[in-house]
């Protein structure tokens, strides 16, 4: 006769929700979709709501995403450049490296992960997934030795994504430039 504990385990495994128990903390699954802004909670500059939109889809062992580069503007506006980047596993759990291809001008600025080194004037772009958090980083060093580090973080909270974008430079320190809530399009 089966013990109650085995019955409980068997019931959990049979229940569709068991995927939650076995969820891979570095899975892109929970972020997939087209997300649009529902609320901008704080912004340091003029942010068009569309500037916060993001599209995320699975791609081979990694994922592909399109978003607006909130860190590129020089005129106070945000989200002036579009980025369409593919990320593949780096060999470190939960860490994804940029897989280069040549389409947009901005994208060509990001370096190949195999050789990408900010000391050579290349922008290093990488991503990290840790459970409900998807983060994308870019790091560059200018010709005078100053650095710029952009940090996007999308956190899945129930049916929404909470976006936080911050940038850090040596002279200005860290500043959270924009925060907002995103909802999935079509829901």
């Amino acid at each position: 006769m089966m013990r109650p504990i085995f019955l409980l385990v068997a019931a959990l495994l049979a229940w569709p929700g068991h995927t939650l128990l076995a969820a891979d903390p570095s899975s892109i699954e929970t972020f997939i979709g087209r997300w649009k802004v529902s609320e901008i909670t704080s912004a340091a500059g003029d942010a068009a709501p569309d500037a916060l939109s993001v599209r995320i889809e699975a791609d081979a062992d990694g994922f592909r995403m399109s978003w607006h580069d909130l860190g590129t503007s020089g005129d106070g506006g945000l989200g002036s450049e579009d980025v369409d980047a593919r990320f593949l596993p780096s060999g470190r759990a939960g860490v994804f490296e940029y897989a280069p291809k040549s389409s947009s001008l901005l994208e060509r600025m990001f370096a190949s992960p195999a050789t990408g080194n900010p000391l050579d004037g290349e922008t290093l772009l990488w991503a990290r997934i840790d459970g409900p958090v998807l983060a994308v980083y870019s790091m560059k060093i200018d010709p005078k030795g100053g650095f710029g580090l952009d940090h996007y973080s999308w956190t899945r909270i129930e049916d929404r994504l909470h976006l936080s974008f911050s940038k850090r430079t040596e002279d200005l320190g860290s500043a959270t430039v924009i925060q907002g809530q995103l909802v999935k399009e079509g829901e």
Partner: protein, 205 residues
């Protein structure tokens, strides 16, 4: 026939002129690079010397504070580079002559980066070790240095095992009597450690 010879001669002259222009441009580029490197080395001169002092270390995650003694030597490295040797002593109740004292000794070497206004950390040359390209995404640290007026900046950046980043920013600021130091260790945007200190220039015996 004569016209063909004249044409060929004109082409040779043109080719010579182009080559001469290219050679001149290359020389100017090299000279410009050397001037920039020389300028960077000159900017470092005011920092050369020995410094002793103390610092307060704040661990912002635990709230702990420690006192440290500092011993820093800034000197030239090769033609246009920079060498920094520093010794840190962690005190126990403000004393360095009791059990529990810790001592660290470190050295960093920098040389000018090609075509840039900053210096890049280089390892001590080792003929028997195979050199390998730096791959930051695999966790190789990136360290560089620059001078901005009376501030010597040294930054270290590394992508951690879990994909977060760590950034260390070290500023050494010249003062009338020596050098103040300001250090921050930042993990994924959070400042987790801060060190502030003062040093005085010391005569080397």
């Amino acid at each position: 026939m004569r016209s063909r010879r004249a044409h060929s001669s004109r082409r040779r002259v043109m080719l010579k002129n182009v080559l001469a222009s290219l050679a001149l441009a290359a020389c100017l580029l090299i000279a410009h690079g050397q001037v920039r490197q020389g300028q960077a080395a000159e900017d470092l001169l005011p920092f050369h010397g020995s410094y002793v002092g103390h610092a307060t270390v704040e661990d912002l995650t635990t709230g702990e504070r420690h006192q440290r003694d500092l011993d820093i030597v800034v000197s030239p490295y090769r033609r246009h580079g920079l060498r920094i040797d520093w010794v840190t002593v962690r005190l126990v109740d403000g004393r360095r002559d009791v059990p529990g004292v810790k001592r660290w000794s470190q050295t960093a070497l920098f040389e000018p980066a090609d075509g840039s206004g900053f210096l890049v950390e280089v390892g001590k040359s080792d003929l028997f070790r195979e050199s390998r390209a730096t791959v930051p995404i695999q966790g190789d640290p990136v360290r560089w240095s620059r001078v901005d007026g009376d501030v010597l900046h040294i930054c270290t950046f590394v992508v951690l095992e879990d994909g977060r980043y760590e950034l260390q920013v070290y500023r050494r600021i010249l003062t009338d009597i020596g050098m103040n130091i300001h250090f921050e260790r930042i993990v994924d945007g959070e400042v987790v450690r801060r060190v502030t200190g003062q040093t005085a220039r010391a005569d080397s015996g």
